[in-house]
């Protein structure tokens, strides 16, 4: 059994690698961009799922962490010449002007800074519960955005940063996503993961079993923020231009959507729904454009895409409350027994 599952996993990973090689060489840049976005949403979704789904902390501050990550990565990877061009209204502060790093350390710095911000925010905020926690984290994320809008000499204010070096490619984004998935699987299996779940199920029971509530909540919050920061960095580098208005509440909402549709507390669910939601949003784009049926032209309505999308979301929330996977995870054993049940004749062929 074990050996079969290992073999299947290796085959699946090999197939994914082959697909990536194929995608990298033969897909056009638009399709690659969507794939990149999907993978980045896997990273962001998992980071939020760690905090909201596994630990049960209702945090709505993700856009703030992503902003910190995106700005850090952008400022660390932009060359001094580009920075001078971008900051035409007010020159950038001295130490940042000449700082330049390769992509990987910049991403790590993004994660570390974002985790540090989470640590500072978490100290007071994590004492709150439920809706209060949600609103306080939302407030902090808005404060981060407002600070970024006003610190002209560090973040270029509302003008935002442009010509960020486009480092993000399929290897970076899928590599990051794969690493995050592996990390999450091990984290959730570890004693920390079990403690997180215990806190989610019942704080008081968890505490009386000797789980340090504050320590574990903080750990989950800071780890989630680290991953979100890295995801934000990848996103900024993919888009090439960022400004504070990108990091409004809507962004947090998009990530929340991914984890709710996938199932709060399911890694598999988040991965699947990140792909479904991101590519779904792109496929719905035809709603905004004019449709030509040959004999009649249906004029596109700008914004209709988001209306349909919000409607679909609400229908899913109303009719499938636990999302796609609930708290279940994918395993080869389950898949095979499912297939056997669905197609019983296959079993006889196999024998």
């Amino acid at each position: 059994m074990k050996r079969r599952n290992l073999a299947l996993s290796i085959i699946a990973i090999a197939l994914l690698l082959l697909f990536l090689i194929f995608a990298d060489s033969s897909l056009d840049s638009y399709q690659k961009r969507i794939l990149n976005l999907c993978a980045i949403y896997v990273i962001l979704g998992l980071s939020m799922n760690l905090i909201n789904g596994f630990t049960g902390l209702f945090s709505l501050g993700h856009a703030g962490f992503m902003a910190v990550g995106a700005y850090t990565t952008a400022l660390l990877t932009m060359s001094p010449a580009i920075k001078e061009q971008t900051f035409y209204l007010e020159p950038i502060v001295a130490p940042l002007a000449n700082l330049n790093m390769p992509f990987l350390p910049a991403l790590l710095m993004a994660g570390i800074l974002s985790a540090f911000v989470a640590f500072i925010i978490g100290a007071p905020v994590l004492r709150l519960k439920g809706d209060y926690l949600a609103i306080a984290t939302l407030g902090f994320s808005e404060i981060i955005r407002i600070i970024f809008t006003n610190t002209q000499s560090i973040t270029n204010g509302s003008l935002g940063l442009k010509s960020i070096p486009p480092h993000t490619n399929l290897w970076w984004s899928f590599g990051g996503a794969a690493l995050t998935v592996i990390f999450m699987v091990f984290l959730i299996k570890s004693s920390y993961g079990k403690a997180f779940k215990a806190i989610r199920e019942d704080e008081i029971a968890a505490e009386s079993m000797g789980i340090g509530l504050f320590k574990h909540k903080m750990l989950s919050f800071v780890t989630g923020a680290f991953i979100a920061g890295v995801g934000g960095g990848l996103l900024g580098s993919l888009l090439g231009a960022i400004n504070p208005n990108m990091f409004r509440f809507v962004l947090t909402f998009n990530v929340l959507l991914v984890i709710v549709l996938g199932g709060m507390g399911s890694i598999t669910g988040t991965v699947i729904s990140a792909f479904v939601v991101t590519s779904g949003l792109e496929y719905l784009r035809f709603l905004d454009e004019t449709i030509d049926l040959g004999f009649i032209e249906i004029p596109g309505v700008a914004g209709l895409r988001m209306v349909v999308f919000a409607l679909l979301l609400m229908m899913v929330v109303v009719f499938f409350r636990n999302g796609l996977m609930g708290t279940n995870e994918f395993s080869w054993d389950k898949l095979i027994s499912f297939l056997k049940r669905k197609f019983p004749f296959k079993k006889e062929v196999g024998h």
Binding site: G130, I135, L138, I143, I146, L256, M306, A310, V317, R321
Partner: protein, 302 residues
């Protein structure tokens, strides 16, 4: 120091502006606080209901050329219906679901309305019609104000009195208070819980419409995303005062409105941080007294 270039007239002007902004926050905050009190749900769509009311009034007056009082009554009725519809579509089916699911549905409803407004009304800002009776400038001594600035707090007080009468003196109000304590017990006592919840949404939406109409005359630029910030701030006002408590929402609204205006008036260099003020207040109150100024201490049952 502060008062060096702040004349008395200017100060009075800022203060009255703050009070009228505070009244508007208070009116919207009541909608949040009532729904939270009864359903333990942050009705994220409330800001969008407020925004829609502005568009209803705009179309009533500017497009269908109704006299302002007819248009305003139509606005109030439409907004009220919309509030009930949102409750029906987004919350009623999720009554026994986990909190986070309902919250996502609420955010979804808000998102939906916002984008619907973009599709129906267009993304470009529109100018809210001016009604001479309210928007003319009034001079009291050396202080010049729009009539509206004085009318808003008075109107708010009247609406508030009506609301308190409804909640404290009528049978419906008694049902509301009962449901907010305990759904099951209220049901056993013969209260129609679903009907009471619908009425709560209707009342909250009517107040949002009243706030919206006055907001539109005071800040006459409307666009589909305009509900977000007032919505968030009004919610903060509700938390500030102690969520679930109507008096608290009003106090919170005034504190926030006056504080925000005076901050910008006294420290103009912080203008960019104007929106952050509310959030800082929110976090401060959550840390110092999470139940808010008027909130009761909730003990946890194990």
């Amino acid at each position: 120091m502060f008062f060096q270039d702040m004349t008395f007239e200017l100060f009075m002007q800022h203060l009255t502006n703050g009070i009228s902004l505070g009244s508007l926050y208070a009116l919207i905050a009541i909608g949040y606080t009532m729904v939270y009190g009864i359903l333990r749900l942050i009705n994220f769509a409330h800001g969008e209901i407020f925004m829609m009311s502005l568009y209803f009034a705009f179309y009533g007056v500017a497009m269908f050329a109704m006299p302002w009082y007819v248009a305003f009554i139509v606005t109030i009725i439409l907004t009220c219906l919309m509030g009930m519809l949102v409750e029906r579509a987004a919350y009623k089916t999720l009554r026994d679901s986990p909190r986070i699911t309902v919250m996502v549905s609420a955010i979804g409803a808000s998102f939906f309305l916002q984008n619907l407004a973009v599709v129906l009304f267009g993304g470009r800002p529109k100018a809210f019609p001016t009604v001479g009776l309210f928007t003319d400038v009034l001079k009291i001594g050396t202080v010049s104000l729009q009539r509206l600035t004085l009318m808003i707090p008075i109107a708010t007080m009247v609406f508030l009195w009506g609301l308190l009468y409804l909640v404290n003196k009528t049978k419906t109000g008694m049902a509301m208070r009962a449901v907010s304590k305990d759904h099951e017990t209220a049901r056993l006592m013969g209260v129609d819980v679903n009907r009471t919840i619908t009425i709560t949404f209707a009342v909250g939406s009517i107040l949002a419409a009243l706030g919206g109409i006055m907001w539109g005359m005071k800040f006459p630029q409307i666009q589909p995303t305009m509900g977000v910030m007032p919505g968030l701030k009004a919610f903060i006002a509700a938390v500030l005062g102690g969520i679930g408590n109507i008096h608290g929402a009003v106090i919170g609204g005034f504190l926030l409105g006056i504080g925000e205006i005076l901050l910008v008036a006294f420290l103009p260099e912080l203008t960019g941080y104007r929106d952050a003020f509310a959030f800082i207040m929110l976090i401060a109150i959550l840390l110092l007294k999470p139940t808010g100024i008027m909130g009761e201490k909730i003990s946890e049952k194990v």
